[in-house]
Symmetry: C2
Subunit: 141 residues, 2 copies
DNA sequence: AAAGTAAATGATAAATTTTACTATTTAACA
DNA sequence: TGTTAAATAGTAAAATTTATCATTTACTTT
């Protein structure tokens, strides 16, 4: 949490109550995504008249400075990004329980090899299915 | 085009004028994506009172039977999928000219290896940057 | 500590995107 | 040609996101 606030300061963003509370809530979601709706509900419980603007803008700003990630396939879902170093990685998302598993290896060379002369600036990747726990559970049934 | 209509028939969809015109328009976008807005503008030019419903529903149905693909990062963009065999592949999207290059190799094994016990049902991948032509052009400047 | 300044927020509204509903039309098929 | 089920139009509304601007607040400087 203090780290996140330092990131805010380093990027010349003001540390407001709203942002602190938003970060504190987001902090619970490092292992799975949370919907913007749920975030809005929470923030409205603290600030009954909070503006949509404030929520959407802050999430977008948090993303820009690496505090938040949007899910690739569904931009209404976000998660907290505790890895401030922007270490490159991808996600496996369990369709059953929603758990997110980080994938450390990255196959980008795999693709650059297929694209001679191209400038590869980035890539988005998400793998989905069932995590080990859910695979077991659903097999048992 | 005839192929696409056959696909419609095989899936027990009716071949309506709207669907034929929609497919004909989509057929122009096999190499880059087109926005749903542009599609709607075109369809409205033919059918002034066409319902949004018709456009959105048909695009969704076309996707289900493999005639259309949505862009991973932006679901308001779609392209025609001429490869009816559902052959698995990924896309490189040029940020400058919008051209889409198909990537034939697929690194899924790369990830399944990292996920013992998991059930991997699918994955979404998109690589982006500049295509070879745009790389050359922009370097020259 | 107080004042000044720029940024953030609230409140409201609107724009955009997507979905829902139902009567009518139309394609498929006998 | 008539029947039937699916598709569409027309309308509306839901849902999501962005815009505007006056007010408030965090940060800085004195």
């Amino acid at each position: 949490m203090e780290k996140a606030i330092e990131v805010l300061k380093k990027n010349h963003y003001k540390v407001t109550k709203q942002r602190k509370d938003l970060l504190e809530f987001l902090n619970k979601f490092t292992v799975q995504y949370v919907s913007i709706n749920d975030i809005a509900d929470y923030m409205r419980s603290l600030y009954p008249g909070i503006s949509n603007n404030t929520i959407y803008r802050n999430l977008k700003e948090f993303e820009e400075i690496g505090l938040v990630e949007y899910q690739e396939k569904d931009k209404t879902l976000v998660k907290y990004q505790c890895d401030f170093e922007h270490q490159h990685h991808h996600h496996f998302v369990c369709k059953n329980c929603g758990k997110v598993t980080e994938l450390k290896a990255c196959p980008i060379k795999f693709f650059t090899d297929q694209l001679p002369g191209y400038t590869v600036e980035g890539h988005a990747l998400e793998v989905y299915g069932l995590c080990a726990d859910c695979t077991k559970k659903l097999k048992a049934e």
